[in-house]
Symmetry: C2
Subunit: 355 residues, 2 copies
């Protein structure tokens, strides 16, 4: 597989969600460090380089990664690194700087390993829909396979040792990406999400920590990694997410019952603007696409040969957009190019429904 | 002519403007009172009724009004009176209450006489485009014809006497309706209009005194009626308006030169929203139609069988909309019906240009 092959394919985070499109994807990330090496921030450049090559060789022996990619980040351009971030394969921090970092991507592009991020290893497995159990099984397999070949830094008292104490223990962070426009439109999203903190869960936007909830996309993940076994932690998240999905479903029903015209107005205006704008900032594009997605999920919009809204949500983002343009674009140019691309993408759609 | 005939026809204020559509219409209004009668507010009901019948008979003898309408306002419903206001035939004050008032409309619907408004008579002549001279000639003819049959309240010192001193003298108010979206988008409208006050000119919105400039429509008219002869006053207004038209033309050129994408964005979004909204408040509809009008005026939008934006600007207004619906509508229903009507109106338009 080449970098270009990766870019031509779809992202792992969409395409397998349930038909309503509320639970989009499930992800588990494990933080692991190799015994005998200082954490990346304290390691010497030579140590980081050595570790990077060692991990690369190890992953070559894993069947899921053997035909995949092993990307040394300092061999990539800044825009290539951003492409990886926008596809949720790399963290924003890992994408920005390249301290002898690497990113391994599995052949099917669903799994990834960040090397020399905050920890030596950040294993990541991603699947569509609400599928934490399946994701965990796959992750456990990958983790076990690696553990047979390297010595993880591990303490009998604390569990897996990590650079930041907040990851110590299981080193596990499990998250589900949810699309919650119904709760947002009903103005219930804040109160619903506020309750999650008390349950030890964090809410983040599309790009993880510190990012805004553009496009009404929310990642729900655990904050605690210590003192809980993985299965019970995942079962708890699964329960909470199922409840959130039910809340969103309910909000959509109430929208349809209580404010049908207003709902169609929001969806219709989004379509109208996406089809006719000449200047389209990134956040607005995501928010409007989210309305499109809601309309399609609720059966208000039916198009022949419907576009993949999720794919568009990735393609409108800055690095992907510049890849489409074939050149680097200033912010203003980008907003114009995004609008142009969107107009052409939606121009020939034939409506199949009344909206 | 019947009331229904009047409603079926176009309004006098549009359809004859210059091709750019900047100067939409010219209007002259004369305030006149009949000697021997107290001003309407101080007259008895009997006096007002007597005057109303007397004026009705007089206008029957005028060739332009003989086949027109003579509407006794207390015989009309509130919504019928509002229809007259929305068509700029009646003032909002005259439309709201009916102190034995009447409205005469000429056969061609371009001229009107309000009876028992603030003054006994408010003569009004309206023509498309910037045509103050032509309007004045027609007005002088009407005024002279009436003056031969009644004694106007006139003072050799002050001129024509009116209820409000601000109208005394010539009793003349001349106004031009301008469409200035270019200056508004360039954010120069305030500074341009501020200068008009110093020239003794007033700026008002679509519905006259106190109304907002919905749809970027501005009425420019004189404030002074005393101590100036009509011809020089009109020549001054004509000069100022020609300058404003030039300013607007210039603003549009600069928009096209400096912010072409942004301009198309504004116009495009307006089209997109008008074609797809499900809830459309009146002010928003006017503002979006104004953008449509700008796009058409600048050649950015070319439609086969283009709709009359001006006609739509009248038809989206509350009373006209309820007439289209065939029943009275609450505000929220109105916003939904307006959106529905607009969608159907614009649904089948074929684009002829790139925007």
């Amino acid at each position: 597989m080449t970098f270009e092959d990766l870019m031509q394919g779809p992202c792992a985070w969409y395409g397998q969600e349930d038909s309503e499109g509320i639970a989009i994807s499930s992800r588990i990330r494990l933080a692991r460090n190799i015994d005998g090496y200082p954490f990346p921030a304290r390691a010497s450049k030579e140590q980081r380089l050595e570790l990077r090559e060692q991990i690369g060789e190890l992953l070559q022996e894993d069947e899921r990664f053997a035909e995949g990619l092993y990307l040394r980040l300092d061999e990539l351009s800044a825009s290539e690194r951003m492409l990886l971030v926008e596809r949720s394969l790399s963290s924003p921090e890992h994408g920005e700087e390249s301290h002898e970092g690497a990113l391994a991507v599995s052949t099917d592009t669903h799994d990834a390993v960040m090397v020399n991020e905050e920890d030596h290893l950040r294993l990541q497995v991603l699947r569509g829909g609400l599928s934490l159990k399946e994701v965990w099984e796959e992750m456990a397999r990958l983790d076990d396979a690696l553990e047979q070949r390297v010595n993880y830094a591990f303490s009998a008292k604390y569990g897996y040792l990590t650079c930041c104490p907040s990851n110590t223990g299981t080193g596990l962070r499990a998250g589900v990406m949810l699309h919650l426009p119904g709760l947002a439109l009903m103005e219930e999203i804040r109160s619903v999400l506020r309750g999650l903190g008390k349950l030890g869960l964090a809410v983040r936007g599309l790009d993880g920590e510190g990012s805004d909830a553009d496009g009404f996309l929310y990642q729900i993940s655990n904050q605690m990694t210590l003192g809980r076994d993985e299965e019970s932690l995942l079962a708890d998240i699964q329960d909470v997410v199922e409840e959130l999905v039910e809340h969103e479903r309910n909000a959509r029903l109430r929208l349809e019952e209580q404010r049908p015209a207003w709902l169609r107005d929001r969806v219709g205006r989004a379509v109208g603007i996406l089809k006719n704008a000449w200047v389209l900032p990134s956040k607005e594009a995501l928010d409007l696409l989210a309305m499109l997605r809601l309309g399609m999920g609720m059966g208000l919009l039916e198009w022949e040969h419907a576009p993949s809204v999720e794919q568009m949500m990735v393609e409108v983002r800055p690095a992907h957009l510049q890849r489409l343009a074939g050149r680097s674009l200033e912010v203003e140019e980008r907003d114009r190019f995004r609008a142009q691309w969107m107009r052409s993408k939606l121009a020939d759609l034939k409506k199949g429904s009344t909206l």
